[in-house]
């Protein structure tokens, strides 16, 4: 009797822990994982510092040009700027990327993809807001279809202001990011998990046709 009750309680808690995935029809829910993201504690001491050093020295950018600023990413790969020497290289899939460079303005349509891609990256993951648009909407500040503040939707580690910022600025931004990582200051992943409901509420406010799970594993 008691065991049954316990089991029932566990089941209830488990259900409460899980995501609602209201955007999906019932027959689609089985296709997606409905776990909530969790906070994962860092390692301790030297181990974490070593790990952070490795993370900082091997920054893999997600090659997803979300806006016009993405044009500034390309020169970084060329012989003139050569980001490779800083251990930075592009990766074609969010699964393998650690840095998400939001290339300028993010329209609502793109925002959906940004959220999805961000959630699919493996932590710890870093977001670099590129250009004024990601800070306050920039020249699109009163647009009906563009967000004004990126960090209402996903945690941002560093912004690079300008419209657009030059590749040099970008490199500077990356180097700053590296320092921050080494210093252990970049924990957007855990803050996203901790404030998941808030982020999700904001996201759902602008994205009307939410046809994906609440957290894209």
């Amino acid at each position: 009797m008691k065991k049954d009750e316990m089991n029932e309680q566990i089941a209830q808690i488990d259900k409460a822990m899980r995501l609602g995935n209201e955007g999906l029809s019932d027959d689609q829910k089985a296709y997606f994982c409905d776990q909530r993201p969790e906070r994962i504690d860092p390692y301790h001491g030297i181990l974490e510092r070593f790990a952070n050093w490795a993370r900082a020295e091997s920054l893999w950018i997600l090659g997803f040009g979300t806006g016009c600023g993405a044009i500034e990413l390309r020169p970084l790969m060329t012989s003139r700027y050569d980001m490779y020497r800083y251990g930075i290289q592009p990766r074609p899939t969010p699964r393998q990327a650690g840095v998400f460079v939001i290339g300028g303005y993010a329209s609502v349509k793109t925002m959906k993809r940004i959220v999805r891609s961000y959630e699919q990256m493996q932590g710890p993951k870093f977001v670099l807001g590129l250009g004024s648009c990601t800070i306050n909407g920039g020249m699109y500040w009163d647009s009906y279809n563009t967000i004004n503040r990126l960090d209402h939707y996903i945690p941002v580690d560093i912004y690079i202001a300008g419209c657009m910022p030059r590749p040099e600025a970008l490199l500077a931004g990356f180097n700053r990011l590296k320092e921050m990582i080494k210093a252990g200051q970049c924990d957007g992943m855990n803050s996203y998990a901790e404030n998941f409901d808030w982020y999700k509420k904001n996201q759902k406010q602008i994205i009307k046709h939410w046809n994906m799970p609440d957290y894209n594993w």
Binding site: A30, Y31, F32, C33, P94, R116, N211, M212, N216, W217
Partner: protein, 1103 residues
């Protein structure tokens, strides 16, 4: 001894009194007639009994009206007469029974009288020794037949009857003129007296003598419907009441045949040759024309004409051959005649029953299928029916007298006949959902077919063209989707019993003959499959529970295997284990089936036993008999498949063709003994014989060019059958090669020094490559596996033809391991198909989570099959390449390596598309395969692992088996096997593999210990979108599209096109040929007269 006069007297008396009896009651004449016929039969039987008791006192001549011949008509009773009369009268009795018992029977009055006169006439024909009396009986028979034809009072029957009348009148005119002149030249009508005369001397004084005999011959020959002047007869078969057709074909024709035999003692040799030619032409061309025929009775008519043709041929032959041979071949004629009488009558009756019950499908009527199959099989000369033995004897005699051409004609005609007869069979047998031709891939509408894919689709279409006629045998009849509800009321079991008696006679005669034939070489054991089949079918007819039957069968096979395997050694033992144990294990999966599956277990059991019999048969007859049994049974098993009619038919025809080819080869080389001799024998057989025998083997193995039966047959058969066929039965071809291995070292060309085995090797290599390539582009999993089997057997052929120690070890090793892998694969796939209910791979996907054990089985078997270490398949590859390079067959080795790389591709595709990727909604609730499928899989996996760890367990015995034939080529040191080129230690490889596997696994477990999240199937990076449906996310269709783009042009199905061409050509030849049957009675008359003229001119020696 009963005087034959009683037959004629009683018969005539009853015939005339019948109208009087009719006054007593409608049924009375029937009963009296039946009693009369029974009396006739009994009299004939009593003769046979008496004669066989005292052969030397016979034949006895009975005189009439108190005078001796030649002054009075005399009747002769000898063994042959008595036997023929027994057959004829029994058939007549059965006919009478059939006529009186069938529903809505109108058998009364004049019809009975005519029937009786016909029987009397035929009896007279058989008995009389007087030429003019022969004429009288001939006319009695003819007139009764003319009248009987029209007895169903239908328009077409009158038309046919009139044509028959015209032809018969011309024939009797010929005969009469001939008789009168013969009388003039010899002064007597008594056949024996004429034969006793010195005809050659008489010829000198009377130059017209030959002409007179020729006219007599012609008169009777025309009555026997020689091609091409036989359109009238075929019309009659088609149009009259089937029961009457049965009488004409079985009783009437037999009498005339016997009369022809009687006068054949007058023929001078050159006339006998003409008769042989006429018979041969009739046989082969009627069967050819029959191929195109779609109306059943007309088809049976062609078959009748053909059967009579072959008997006419034999009658001619017995005048030419030496006296011993003549007797031998005449006995085969009698057997053929009896075979024809009962099976043809049976078929006509069955066709009548089909009409009565308006039956278009017999799939759910087991008894009907059995009867039907028995008659067709016996007509087509399949074992164990009488015609098989008769043809065997005939062919042996012909081979001894170097008449190869006639053998070819006989076998060709038999092949045609089997073709159209079994086309009829498959048409009636096939399921409603069966399109009747080779099954095509079903491509769902949401996946468009782009132009780049049509190449392959059209190739399957070309395959379908082969069986295009199969669908249309009954085209003019409405096809009922379900059995007619009124049909049940129309069922008449009594009639079926009459037909069954006929079939029992055929079977019994076949078995007795078989016992007679096989007793000589002490091989009676070979008949066991027949006994088992009969008993099993009876069990099934009695609805014995499936599982009890299965257990009985498996126990029986086990016992048999035990007995056989004890007596075998060496390579025979290897094949014994392969054939018997291999199939026995696979039979376990039949346990999953719950209800009765008619004929399944009996046929499988008999098939396995036949395979075992191949090993113990010592004579050519025994071997060929078992081989044919195996062929027939496996094609019947294939036909059980729901959509297998086209494929089964094609399999049957190819196998028969292969068997006949092998037969000719064996006949060409009479000194050859079917005992495994290795390659030491240096006697030089004819190259043609070697080719023909190897073709026989390669058909069975599905070698390139002869493979087109293979995919359909393996794919459309039921899953268990596919497994058995591809893993066990295909090795029978390999066995034949081993048994005949001493042949293949002879030079390919008379002057060259390249042995035939080189050619075989290349064929094997390209078979492996082609099989792999074909498998690469299949969407249907069973087609993939089928082509895969083809390729694997190609490797075995390649290895065999090396003719070295290592080569043979390789071949046997691959045979054994392929049995393991392919059985596992088929079983696992069978489980998947059992659950998913689709054969298209791209419709599956993601099943690993639902069927993990099946996945592991498939994984292990594809690793093994593709030869990836550490599993045992690598052993096969290692042996193969080592053997090839040692022998110096470098290019073949290259082809084999390419083939094995391609094999890796399709195998990966197989496992990926089924088990990985996206799970479909409809499979979400699926379970693992039933336990019956899993048990053999687990056993097989354990065996694979064992062989992988300890290769010597397998290679060792094989090595010892091959050693008697070659000197050793590999040596063992511990677990390492050394060849002259390299070495392999399966044990160490296994340990190293396990080691290198454990290490990263441990690392991964350590690194990923906490925070690895198991996600669902749509949690993938989908270019920042979410997948829509599993179907559109699963990559499985046209998996190797780029390969097709790169090499598609080399995949043109040449073999299929060639065989389609052959079939089309034959078909259209038959179609053109039959245009001579214009339907105009006058044309027929003209043809007869022209035929006579040509024959007479030929006899004169020219124009």
């Amino acid at each position: 001894m009963v005087s034959p006069l009683y037959i004629l007297g009683i018969g005539l008396g009853i015939a005339f009194l019948l109208p009087l009896f009719e006054k007593l009651g409608k049924k009375i004449p029937r009963i009296i007639t039946l009693i009369t016929l029974m009396v006739f039969t009994l009299i004939a039987v009593s003769w046979v009994v008496m004669i066989s008791g005292a052969v030397d006192k016979f034949p006895v001549i009975f005189n009439t009206i108190g005078f001796k011949a030649p002054f009075a008509i005399s009747l002769q009773v000898g063994l042959i007469e008595a036997l023929v009369l027994v057959m004829i009268n029994t058939a007549a009795l059965l006919s009478g029974l059939f006529l009186s018992l069938r529903k809505d029977s109108h058998w009364e009055g004049k019809q009975i009288v005519l029937f009786l006169t016909l029987v009397i006439g035929v009896n007279g024909l058989v008995l009389t020794r007087d030429l003019f009396n022969l004429f009288v009986f001939l006319e009695i028979v003819s007139i009764s037949m003319y009248a009987l034809i029209a007895s169903n009072d239908e328009k077409h029957a009158y038309e046919a009857g009139f044509k028959y009348l015209i032809a018969g009148s011309i024939a009797s005119a010929f005969y009469l003129i001939g008789v009168i002149y013969l009388y003039r030249f010899t002064g007597t009508l008594f056949i024996d007296q004429i034969v006793a005369m010195d005809l050659a001397a008489l010829q000198a004084t009377h130059p017209g003598l030959v002409f007179a005999i020729a006219l007599i011959m012609l008169g009777l020959l025309i009555e026997l419907k020689p091609f091409p002047s036989n359109g009238w007869a075929i019309d009659a078969y088609e149009a009259s009441d089937p029961a009457v057709s049965a009488m004409i074909s079985a009783v009437g024709a037999s009498g005339v045949v016997f009369a022809f035999y009687k006068i054949s003692s007058l023929f001078p040799p050159e006339m006998a040759e003409i008769v042989v030619a006429s018979g041969a032409v009739t046989f082969v061309f009627s069967q050819l024309v029959g191929l195109r025929q779609k109306r059943v009775r007309r088809m049976l008519g062609y078959s009748s004409v053909g059967q009579i043709g072959i008997i006419v041929m034999i009658i001619g032959l017995q005048r030419i051959l030496k006296i011993d041979d003549a007797q031998m071949i005449m006995s085969s004629a009698i057997i053929l005649l009896g075979n024809h009488i009962f099976s043809k009558a049976g078929l006509f009756w069955l066709s009548d029953i089909f009409d009565q019950e308006q039956l278009r499908r017999v799939r759910r009527r087991p008894l009907m299928i059995v009867l039907f199959g028995v008659f067709l099989g016996s007509l087509a000369g399949l074992p164990p029916f009488p015609a098989f033995w008769a043809k065997w004897r005939m062919i042996t005699v012909l081979a001894e007298s170097d008449k190869l051409f006639l053998i070819i004609i006989i076998l060709l005609g038999s092949l045609f006949e089997a073709g159209y007869l079994f086309r009829w069979f498959t048409t009636l047998l096939r399921d409603e959902s069966d399109p009747g031709d080779i099954h095509e891939e079903q491509i769902p509408e949401d996946i468009p077919v782009s132009s780049s894919q049509t190449g392959v689709v059209s190739s399957t279409r070309a395959l379908a063209a082969l069986a295009e006629n199969a669908g249309s045998v009954v085209e003019e009849l409405p096809v009922l989707s379900v059995e007619d509800p009124t049909a049940a009321e129309k069922r008449n079991p009594v009639v079926l019993a009459v037909v069954a008696i006929s079939s029992v006679i055929v079977i019994a005669a076949g078995v007795l003959l078989g016992a007679e034939f096989l007793r000589a070489s002490n091989e009676l054991l070979l008949l066991i499959p027949v006994a088992v089949l009969t008993a099993g079918i009876l069990f099934d007819l009695l609805h014995l529970p499936h599982r009890i039957h299965l257990i009985l069968a498996m126990a029986g096979i086990s016992f048999y295997s035990y007995r056989i395997l004890m007596g075998l050694d060496g390579i025979y033992l290897v094949f014994g284990i392969l054939f018997l144990t291999g199939s026995l294990i696979q039979m376990i999966s039949l346990y999953v089936k719950k209800s009765l599956h008619f004929g399944l277990i009996p046929m499988i059991t008999a098939l396995i036993l036949s395979l075992g019999n191949l090993l113990i048969s010592t004579t050519r007859l025994g071997f060929f008999f078992s081989w044919e049994m195996m062929t027939v049974l496996s094609s019947l098993l294939i036909l059980r498949g729901r959509k297998a009619s086209g494929a089964g038919l094609r399999y049957l025809l190819f196998s028969l063709g292969g068997a006949y080819s092998m037969l000719i080869g064996l006949m060409l080389y009479p000194d050859f003994s079917l005992l495994l001799q290795g390659v030491r024998d240096v006697s030089t057989p004819p190259v043609l014989a070697v080719f023909l025998i190897s073709i026989g083997a390669m058909v069975k193995m599905g070698s390139l060019g002869l493979h087109i039966w293979l995919p359909g047959a393996y794919a459309e058969a039921e899953n268990e059958i596919s497994s058995l066929l591809s893993s066990v039965v295909s090795k029978a071809g390999l066995f034949l090669l081993f048994v005949t291995s001493s042949l293949y070292l002879i030079p390919l060309l008379p002057s060259g020094n390249i042995p035939v085995s080189v050619l075989l090797g290349w064929i094997g290599a390209f078979t492996a490559l082609a099989g792999a390539f074909f498998a690469l582009f299949q969407e249907d999993i069973k087609y993939t596996l089928a082509y895969s089997s083809m390729g694997q057997v190609g490797y075995m052929l390649l290895a065999f033809s090396l003719m070295t120690h290592l080569g043979w070890v390789t071949s046997l090793y691959m045979a054994v391991t392929h049995l393991l892998f392919k059985a596992l694969l088929f079983l696992a796939v069978a489980g998947v198909l059992y659950r998913t209910k689709t054969r298209m791979m791209y419709q599956m996907g993601g099943l690993i989570k639902r069927m993990p054990i099946s996945f592991i089985t498939v994984l292990l078997s594809i690793i093994a099959l593709s030869g990836v270490p550490p599993l045992t398949g690598f052993g096969g590859k290692w042996l193969l390449y080592t053997a090839l390079i040692e022998k110096g067959w470098y290019l073949q080795a290259g082809v084999a390596m390419f083939a094995s790389a391609i094999a890796f591709l399709y195998l990966f595709r197989l496992i990926h598309v089924i088990f990985l990727g996206q799970l479909k909604d409809e499979h979400r609730a699926m379970k693992e395969a039933p336990i019956g499928f899993l048990i053999p899989q687990v056993v097989g996996m354990i065996v694979i692992m064992l062989f992988s760890m300890y290769p010597s367990l397998l290679i060792g015995p094989l090595q010892r088996a091959v050693t008697p034939f070659f000197s050793e080529s590999i040596i063992w040191e511990g677990y390492t096997v050394f060849s002259t080129l390299g070495y392999w230690n399966g044990n160490a490889v296994m340990y190293v593999t396990i080691g290198v596997f454990i290490f990263p696994l441990a690392w991964l477990l350590l690194m990923q210990r906490k925070h690895t999240r198991m996600v669902e199937q749509f949690n993938i990076v989908f270019a920042a979108e979410r997948p829509d449906r599993p179907e559109t996310t699963h990559f499985g269709y046209n998996f190797f599209a780029h390969y097709r783009r790169a090499l598609g042009m080399y995949l043109t199905p040449w073999a299929t096109r060639w065989w389609t061409g052959v079939v089309t050509l034959t078909d259209s030849l038959g179609g053109t040929m039959r245009r001579i049957y214009t339907g105009n009675g006058q044309t027929y008359a003209f043809q007869i007269i022209l035929y006579g003229t040509v024959l007479l001119l030929l006899l004169r020696g020219g124009f």
